[in-house]
Amino acid sequence: MGSFREVEVALNEMHAEAVAGIVDRVATRHRRDPTCMLQILREVQEACDWLPPEAIDRLQVVLGVPRTKIEGVAGFYAFLYTQPRGKYRILFSDNVTDRMQGSVALMERLCSSLWVEPGKVSEDGLLSVDITSCTGMCDQGPGLLVNNYAIPRLTAGLVDEIAELIRNKVPLAEWPADYFRVDDNVRRADVLLAAQMAPGDALRAARARAPSDGLMASNMRSWREGLPSGLGGPIAMLDDMKRANLRGRGGAGFMTGIKWEACRNAPLKPGQERFVVCNADEGEPGTFKDRVLLTSHADLVFEGMTAAAYAIGARRGFLYLRGEYRYLLEPLTAVLERRRREKVLGNDILGLPGADFDIEIHLGAGAYVCGEESALIESLEGKRGTPRNRPPFPVTNGYLDQPTIVNNVETFAAAALVALNGGEWYASIGTKHSAGTKLLSVSGDCERPGIYEYPFGVSIRQVLADCGARDTQAVQVSGPSGVCVAPAEFDRVIGFEDIPTAGAFTIFDNSRDMFEVARNYVHFFQHESCGFCTPCRVGTSLLKNLMDKLHNGVGSPYDFAEIEKLNQLLQAMSHCGLGHTACNPVLDTIARFRPAYEQRMTQQDFTPAFDLDRALAEARQMTGRDDAGAHLSSKHGGAA
């Protein structure tokens, strides 16, 4: 007899077959290569809305890897789901700028309109709403992601429209295209953003500057085999990079020419090659300049990567694009395709036989830590994004243990300019220790947020004047892992000799509570800690709990001392930069805005963080009660 049970089994089998079909199709496209695991998981999820166990069953077979490995990777990335999260997966950007623009109220509005609780899946399984780290739309926020596609410029009206579309189950592809329009907002352009360059110009210029003994043949050989001491072109390119004094734009400021040279000189074992990796995992809250470069100046970035390949002798490159910029994948793929047709990418570049270099795009899936170069390489290899033990460094032991350069998007764009105009020209811009220009992602309390390109050496005060900031209380330069600058320091300048920056420039006027700013940043680091090392994994959670305790009005000088102790421990013991800098926003705001903290120390003596009345919230929700009898009358501090 055909029982319900049999029907159910049959349906499950059909479902498993359909899922297996999707997995096979995706895995085949990636040559069944386990190093593409993250890409495969991401694409399977795009087709299935989540990663059902049947998909993992099938992946085990087609990739030939243990289940633990797949689940370990799937569990690491915030945008991969091993539990159903609905057909519409909404994530509100939770950067401090989004909050300043009203994101909290907008999320509540959407949740109450759709009868769903934040962080949970709706009863009918249709949707989920949650928060996510900064999505890079700070100049046009508040922003959200729906199924990883960015929607900026949220308003109450737009949120209501979105709720209606979801209620009517309108497929995402049919939502108004204007929702997804992302503006560049370039407010000040200098040599980089104003560069007029046809694809291939920089490569041709670099070759033309090679000394005459750098004959074509030796260049080609060098390119093909990555010879450490090839004559002519590649070495001339390296020399130009060194003359340019270009320093990494990701924030750390390592000399790019020296990094490239170290990679070029790194010995290759048989079968190995060199790699060029572009770090477009722009996750630092408040940073969005790489988004603009990749939107409107992608040729410059890819040309810089190709020049780098020419200099170090690489044939393969990767662009590691943060998952929040999913919408850029197709446009960037089209640019790569066009460059291949134009013979400035792919085989026989510029018509030189053997001059081969190509670029693949890998997407991240919601992990800030992958902006750290060794974690990024792990992620490129399809693993959990855990920073490696260093040394050895990527220039000798990078992607698949082979010599690899990892540079920021802006660094490659600047390298293209160096290739085009030469190192001396580039070094003449900016200051002695900081050559060239810097893109600043300006957001927060100002009239004209957006991208500002300045020669290095510009003062904070100048930037504030240019963007129309008034009554400024503080500027967070380079995001939460950077520094917080108070008005007395506004004559300090952007540059490696004073305030180095990866580009974020977040402005707070006098109406903002700097304690709450720091608390938002502490929550960010806690969410993004990879969990590998003890101090960062546990320490960021302890720090978050202490900041929340102060926020909840049960803080005392004891907790303040605890915060300072934790800060020290995180800085001293953490495995990577995330842990080292996780306490920066707290240390900086304590040093500059101490009253904001002292206001929070409402208790003289230690008071437990545990609040009996708050602990009953869940019971109140379950019983639907909120009357006096459902509350405990006694408050902290002893008063009945």
Partner: protein, 232 residues
Amino acid sequence: MSHTFTLDGKTIPFAEGQTILQAADAAGVFIPHLCYHPDFKPHGSCKLCTVKVNGRQTASCTMRALPGMVVESETEELNDERRALTQMLFVEGNHFCPSCETSGNCRLQATAYHLGMMSPHFDHFFPSRAVDASHPDVLLDFNRCILCSLCVRASRDVDGKNVFALSGRGIKTHLIVNAKSGRLADTNFTLADKAAQVCPVGVILPKRHGFAVPIGERKYDKAPISETTEGR
């Protein structure tokens, strides 16, 4: 050819490729550690073995020794920090020493004694972690897991089984087992596996062997961890 570096003023010889911790170990000098085990590739995650090398702090289990390095380990500052890390591990999980089968044989507990830890200090997280008693011979009590990944490495590199792995991220990082059901019974794990022998705490426990050696007569009851050589 032998090189040397100094550790707290003492000259330590080392062979090319040895890490500071390995060289110290060979010279009979104890540096606290939990995720390091001589049979496996160093992991560098617990950070207990952090030392100061030429003034900079680094994990001694992953840092290669170099000639002439000046290394500090037994300083008040470092031991204070190590104690804080140990306290962090205690509050992160659910550790109830008096009722734990591993008490006295537990490296976390012994390290806490060694560092003079008198209280957990931090607020407990009290995580909710299920116990897996599905396997006929082995009990998994995840409450005590300190994420050292020794079982992961042992199962992968020695047993060739990949029974264990870490999943999740940040404070939600957790140990998983290689089965669709998530249960150890549905894996090919056995008590004879190397992975069954390396847990420094009380996560992987053989069934039917409760308290065979009374508390008080166990490994670290007899000698402090700094004076034992087992499991190093």
